[in-house]
Symmetry: C2
Amino acid sequence: MVKRTSFEGDGCPIARSLEVIGDWWSLIIIRDAMLGLRRFGEFQSKLGVAKNILSARLRSMVDHGILETAPASDGSAYQDYLLTPKGRGLFPILVALRQWSEEFDDAPEEIDTIMIDRAKGRPVKKLELHAEDGRLLSLADITLKPRPAPRRRSAG
Amino acid sequence: MVKRTSFEGDGCPIARSLEVIGDWWSLIIIRDAMLGLRRFGEFQSKLGVAKNILSARLRSMVDHGILETAPASDGSAYQDYLLTPKGRGLFPILVALRQWSEEFDDAPEEIDTIMIDRAKGRPVKKLELHAEDGRLLSLADITLKPRPAPRRRSAG
DNA sequence: CAACATAGTTTCATTATGCAACCACTGGAG
DNA sequence: CTCCAGTGGTTGCATAATGAAACTATGTTG
């Protein structure tokens, strides 16, 4: 086979996530879904993505439980694409992508929006990774270990 | 043009990040660089990626300041690919991808590693987004606003 | 029902990716 | 220095993913 390498079945959770949302458009679509877009045409006109690509991505994300279809909120017979809890769970990934650009982009003056805390109207802090005891952790502070075998209730 | 849509010049920082590391292999390579891989052949044999693809990705990431080349640490005349601070800044993105899989993966029993706090050997907490005043924030608590014009020192 | 909008699918061209073969350079043995 | 295996690529070709536009089907408006 000469098809694109699949990360499916890989035990690495990063690879497993990228297998689902690691393509060119999915996260962009999710970003706009989080901004409130829900109709096929809204995504299509805002993003300028080809309709066949949009159709394929929406279907894939519905299949993966990231989006779900629902009767259109405007009462028409068309459908909305809404984020599921699994889809909303992508929020930290989008925040991390945003903050990386904010911190390291070569042309930060081209960034046109900032993310603010709705209640106070102030910029948010950087995402933080903490230990169970609350210590702030960075790359050097973590390591990987094999996943412990899950406890079995019965089947002994 | 029929080439792949570029997000270059887009003002959205998420799109800007994806423009750089949103392809099929970059984040996987970065993941392994964070695990300590540094030589072309190490990436090639561990990932099984085609050498032309690996070559193109490494070059792109060096061009973007995510990786840098250095004389090989083993004294040979070959070179190492090392993470720059900008590259290490991708760490939260990888953590977010990992945690999304850990929380929502349809087959979590296939995940083979967990990330632990090196000091205590305990799993880390979920990434958290906080307001300036420390409140924990979720998707519903944030909004976007136009980036304020940067202050000018002179040129008046 | 006519006319138009929405939400796709199909077709075809182009780009990206994958694999294999090839090439250049390194480092060691003789 | 020559021979040769290993490293680090590049090149060429096949296939898969993507993009633009045309086409289809259904919904909506009047």
